[in-house]
């Protein structure tokens, strides 16, 4: 709906500026764009509630079935990237905070800043050139080599290949995952490390940390059971919010690596000017983003009893 309020005619956008008025009218007729806006909205919402996202303009394929084909590819990539970013980012952040202003701290924070400053499409192209072309050790197109067969169960290649005991497919999927994962996880990794560091530093300045040290606790329990527990809230928030970054980053990463997920589909639809797909995919990604944000809010109560009480 928001999109419809913007000046610009999707039919013209689809056909290009030099389209004949007859063709534009025909497209408008077919997409129902000639109906009044509230009616268009009602048709779209009622379809949405029935799980019907409409058909693609080209090929007339139901969008919902194509989405369910492509969605697992994006989920697999995003989850692997997010898990690695959290598993690496949190320890780096803790270490930097515990050894503040040390060599480790300065180096990792410089790399964290560099990680935020390298656009993923630049990093992706650099990695393709280095590991895909120059040294030629890693694949950089798609999820699986054409020669390898994999039975589809969940659509997640790692899980499917383990379930079916298909070890060559597992190895092949993993090697295909390396470069896209590296490309996608740098920004979340950098952000998670930075936020963890600043959250830990804030907590380490508190009085109860001084108390814990004064009563003779060694540094390890101070950091892990006193400080980390209290710094978890912003860390969890930022990890949750990274899923949004990952999903938008997926558009660029999947485009670069021809990864057959929804991000690549969104890009192809932009190029093909298929307005209905762009709308559906953007809607889906935003929906996931909102659900994740709400889930993170609920998690607060689990982590912090003070919020549960109030």
């Amino acid at each position: 709906m928001l999109l419809r309020l913007i000046p610009g005619d999707p039919a013209v956008a689809m056909l290009g500026e030099r389209a004949s008025p007859e063709n534009v009218a025909a497209i408008r007729e077919r997409l129902g764009l000639n109906k009044p806006l509230p009616e268009q909205y009602m048709i779209w919402v009622s379809g949405l509630l029935r799980g019907d996202l409409g058909n693609t303009v080209r090929g007339n394929i139901p969008i919902a079935s194509e989405l369910s084909n492509r969605f697992p590819a994006t989920v697999e990539l995003a989850l692997v990237a997010l898990t690695l970013a959290a598993l690496l980012g949190v320890p780096i952040g803790i270490l930097s905070a515990a050894r503040r202003n040390s060599f480790i701290d300065t180096t990792s924070m410089f790399f964290a800043l560099l990680g935020v400053s390298i656009p993923i499409f630049v990093l992706g192209l650099l990695l393709i050139y280095l590991f895909g072309v120059r040294f030629d050790i890693l694949p950089f197109i798609g999820r699986l080599d054409d020669a390898i067969q994999l039975e589809r169960r969940t659509g997640l290649h790692i899980i499917d290949s383990i379930l079916t005991g298909n070890w060559p497919a597992l190895q092949n999927s993993l090697t295909h995952l390396v470069l896209p994962t590296f490309t996608l996880f740098t920004v979340p990794l950098a952000i998670v490390a930075r936020i963890t560091r600043s959250a830990m530093l804030e907590v380490l300045n508190q009085d109860y940390i001084r108390t814990a040290r004064a009563k003779g606790l060694s540094e390890r329990p101070v950091i892990f059971s006193h400080a980390l527990r209290n710094a978890l809230l912003p860390i969890i928030t930022i990890i949750g919010l990274q899923l949004g970054t990952l999903l938008s980053g997926a558009v660029l990463t999947e485009t670069i690596y021809s990864w057959p997920g929804i991000g690549k589909w969104l890009f192809d639809s932009i190029i093909a000017r298929d307005y209905t797909i762009v709308q559906s995919v953007t809607l889906l990604i935003s929906l996931i983003y909102i659900i994740v944000n709400v889930t993170v809010d609920v998690l607060y109560a689990v982590v912090d009893p003070r919020i549960r009480v109030s």
Binding site: L3, A13, L125, G132, V251, I271
Partner: protein
């Protein structure tokens, strides 16, 4: 707590004017900024890119439509880059510095266009878009935030819910959606990116305005008969300036990345005019055959621009953050 109780009598004794206090804060701030290595590196990078962005279009009139020469298609970089490459390569043939030609220092692209020239003009495009994005979202966001935070009421509820709606979308995706509908062009991309960044400024200014509106000096100003608008401009705005400057600097980096991302996806600057993201997208086919320079120089330029502004923004934040003072 201790610092405020100590500071107050000292202030009363010396009767320093507000201006003196401000000057001292400024001196304190610049000293901290000067000591930070990331501020220096970031400042130099940011200043250099700004200078280049201003002077390249002034000194070099570029006609993208007529640019290009077929014999020079994918010409590798000559000049210093070629010399460096020969020094580090395994082959025994080393170039001598005297015999260097400097026709294509960064190489040439698929149409035989000089990449260095296009990177220079593309950089200028990226930075102007970035600066416009900052100006648009800063002006609109700050105005909304000031009015919402200071007057409250229905305006606050409506505008802040609207900001929530914008924030509910990942910013790049929202920009993609807006540009797809409005039509792909640099102007639309710029407006779309600016729209996605308005909430940051609106929320920031609103929270500053709320915390300031109940302070004693605002009550004093009001009892002296100052109007709401006057209080906002002469009291609330100057006090929110520091975080706004930090945010604007960081946004400039983000805006450059997102402009390039839109360009990369074909939604920004249209060919044949140069733009860094578009140049990267066009370099993809050449990459598989090892023509690294087509991708490397535009990519490096984006990294340096963004790194510069991020370093500067980070250093500014550290220097302005009262919690880090005294460390």
């Amino acid at each position: 707590m201790t610092s405020t109780t100590q500071a107050q009598p000292r202030l009363a004794l010396t009767r320093r004017s507000e201006r003196d206090v401000r000057l001292e804060q400024l001196r304190d701030f610049s000293r901290r900024l000067w000591r930070s290595p990331s501020a220096k590196l970031g400042g130099i990078l940011a200043f250099a890119t700004l200078l280049a962005a201003i002077f390249v279009p002034l000194l070099d009139k570029y006609d993208a439509i007529r640019d290009g020469s077929l014999p020079a298609r994918y010409a590798p970089p000559d000049c210093i880059v070629a010399w460096l490459e020969s020094q580090f390569s395994a082959s025994p043939e080393k170039l001598s510095l005297n015999g260097l030609t400097c026709e294509y220092p960064f190489g040439a692209d698929k149409n035989g266009r000089d990449i260095m020239r296009r990177v220079g003009h593309g950089m200028s495009v990226s930075l102007s878009v970035g600066i416009f994005v900052v100006i648009i979202s800063l002006t609109i966001g700050t105005t909304i935030g000031l009015i919402a935070g200071f007057s409250g009421g229905w305006f606050e509820s409506v505008s802040m819910r609207l900001m929530d709606v914008i924030l509910a979308f990942p910013s790049l995706l929202l920009a993609i959606a807006l540009v797809t509908v409005a039509g792909a062009s640099l102007t639309n991309g710029m407006i779309a990116i600016a729209v996605t960044q308005i909430p940051t400024f609106a929320r920031l200014t609103r929270s500053m305005a709320i915390s300031i509106r109940n302070t004693e000096y605002v009550t004093a100003a009001r009892s002296l008969g100052a109007s709401g608008g006057k209080i906002m401009i002469s009291h609330v705005l100057p006090n929110s300036l520091a975080p706004l400057i930090v945010q604007s600097t960081l946004l400039l980096g983000t805006a450059v990345i997102e402009t390039a991302a839109l360009g990369f996806l074909g939604l920004g600057q249209q060919p044949p005019w140069p733009e860094l993201g578009k140049m990267l997208a066009e370099s993809q086919p050449a990459l598989a055959s090892g023509k690294w320079w087509v991708m490397f120089f535009p990519g490096l330029t984006i990294i340096l621009i963004v790194l510069g502004f991020n370093l500067l923004g980070d250093a500014l934040r550290d220097a302005l953050d009262p919690r880090l003072r005294g460390n």
